[in-house]
């Protein structure tokens, strides 16, 4: 949509199966969330279900989202600063694909990639920062990290270019039908992805009337002028966390790690969990009982 169409559209609510209207084979897709938090997993599963191919995927701090897309063969090229399963180990499909030389990748340092997305939202073709001088990032991607001299102080800085994905996919707590998005918990750079991308799909735990957002406008982090499509998908980040709503699902993550360890068992993982409806996925992952446990774990945390 153009910005004007986004501002005019008062009902952007669609079904999960509608995302194919906005994402096509070969698109560059920036994926929200960070660490093991808030990744748009229901959207990722839907992409895999749809059989999409040749994506140019971009992630700042990716995890199971990236590993799953790579393993399912959806990714032609990957831009990332970090892909990690953290305590669970290294991401099996990501490792395998790169170690076999089967995945083209652009490894960019974390701050540079964030600043690159940010540049687009600010309407500048580049932004300077005190870059990772002395690192091999500069040698590996001289087309991404360029030297720029401060015209006031003469200091040498690093310029990074504006990154412009075709699509951003994001998961968040709640939205109104017009696409105003509230983020309460761990917030990566989802706002910057939304500003940078031409098309923006946000799945949320709940769609609520705008009046609910007005009760605490300080939580609204992505205004409707940046959003094309809103999808209500409870537990849409599972098995990642969406605090303060629910924690990540360590039991499912361990199942994932076991099954992703080899290509054939990963194929079984996809069959058992992904290549079905999202409702069936949640049932297979433990259903209401498990989801309620993840909510309870998030709620009953202690401080010292």
């Amino acid at each position: 949509m153009t910005t004007k169409e986004r501002v005019l559209a008062q009902n952007k609510v669609a079904k999960l199966t509608d995302i194919g209207r906005l994402i096509k084979d070969g698109d560059s897709v920036a994926i929200g969330g960070a660490w093991l938090s808030s990744h748009p997993m229901a959207l990722v599963r839907q992409l895999i279900r749809s059989g999409i191919r040749n994506l140019n995927v971009m992630t700042i701090l990716g995890s199971v989202d990236i590993d799953m897309l790579v393993g399912a063969g959806c990714v032609d090229r990957l831009m990332f600063s970090f892909v990690s399963m953290e305590a669970y180990g290294l991401p099996p499909n990501f490792r395998r694909a790169i170690e076999k030389g089967e995945l083209k990748y652009d490894e960019i340092s974390g701050l540079a990639i964030i600043i690159g997305f940010e540049a687009t939202g600010r309407g500048v073709p580049f932004l300077p920062y005190r870059g990772p001088f002395g690192s091999d990032y500069l040698n590996q991607r001289p087309d991404f990290y360029k030297k720029i001299v401060c015209p006031f102080t003469g200091e040498e800085m690093t310029a990074v270019p504006a990154i412009k994905p075709d699509v951003a996919i994001i998961h968040a707590q709640r939205a109104d039908p017009a696409g105003n998005i509230q983020i309460e918990g761990t917030a990566g750079s989802d706002l910057e992805l939304a500003k940078a991308a031409r098309r923006v799909i946000v799945s949320v735990e709940e769609v609520v009337p705008t009046e609910v957002l007005r009760e605490n406008p300080f939580k609204t982090k992505i205004p409707r002028i940046y959003v094309d499509m809103v999808i209500e998908q409870p537990f849409g980040a599972h098995p990642c966390s969406l605090v303060p709503g629910y924690v990540g699902d360590p039991w499912h993550m361990m199942t994932y790690m076991d099954m992703a360890a080899k290509p054939d068992t990963f194929k079984s993982y996809l069959d058992q969990y992904v290549m079905r409806s999202e409702d069936e996925y949640l049932e297979a992952a433990g259903g209401l009982k498990q989801m309620n446990l993840l909510k309870k774990l998030a709620r009953e945390v202690k401080s010292l």
Partner: protein
Amino acid sequence: MSSYSDDYTPAEMVCVSVAREIEDGDILILGSFTPLAFVSYILAKVTHAPNMMYMAYSSVDAKPFPLTFATYEAAATKGGVARWNMTECIHSLYLGTGVDVEPISSIQADGHGNINISVVGDYHKPMLRGPGGAGAPEVVKMHRKMLGYFPSHNKRTLVPKVDFITGTRWKISNQERMKAGLRPGPVKLITNLAILTKEEEARPFRLTSVHPGVTVKDVVDNTGFELDVPGDVAQTEQPTREQIRILREQVDPYGMVAFDFMPGKERPAYLKGILEKELQALGR
């Protein structure tokens, strides 16, 4: 001294040593989940550094919490005084005001103050593809101290030259750092054997102290780069009884600190055990 503990694990030794590098008034960040680092922050916060400020995920000035496996993020974000997303955090803290300490565990480190979390072997078809640098390039260059910690001090980890420089201290001596507009501060590597410190570009890491029960030869034999070994190497200060008590009773009730020190194959079973205890504590 009677206040020192004789009952501690190698992991607790490293954890307490990292905590001692944190001063009251420091600014820290909890980012990617590294149990030992998180435990060391919280230990410092509830003991000698009560006023230090940390960012926990998006929570500015979060409250300290007992480290868990299922709920660390929810606990870390609880009770923050302000909220910053990652973009705000990097500009304010990494590039602006400046974080003091953020320990990094890497695949390789070398004697020049470089770390590698990217690849072992050929860049495009590596033997080992690591997770990538995330904020580490800035962490090791910009923060007041560069702090690396290593559960396994050996020549595969502490190498002559890293295969890929994911991050580097870049300017090391205090003069060179200040000339480049960076805050002065050393490079310290805290391992399961010893503490190594580098304060000059041209000089090798100094063997600052060896942990109780470790010999200088153990350290030199297991280090892949040259060390500056003083005639009389100090012994690393042991954890106090109070530190160990607080660690086990309050900060790390499930023993997450041992996690980094475990072979990869043993980790899933260990994590499952911790989860079982967490569920019990939840009254299930």
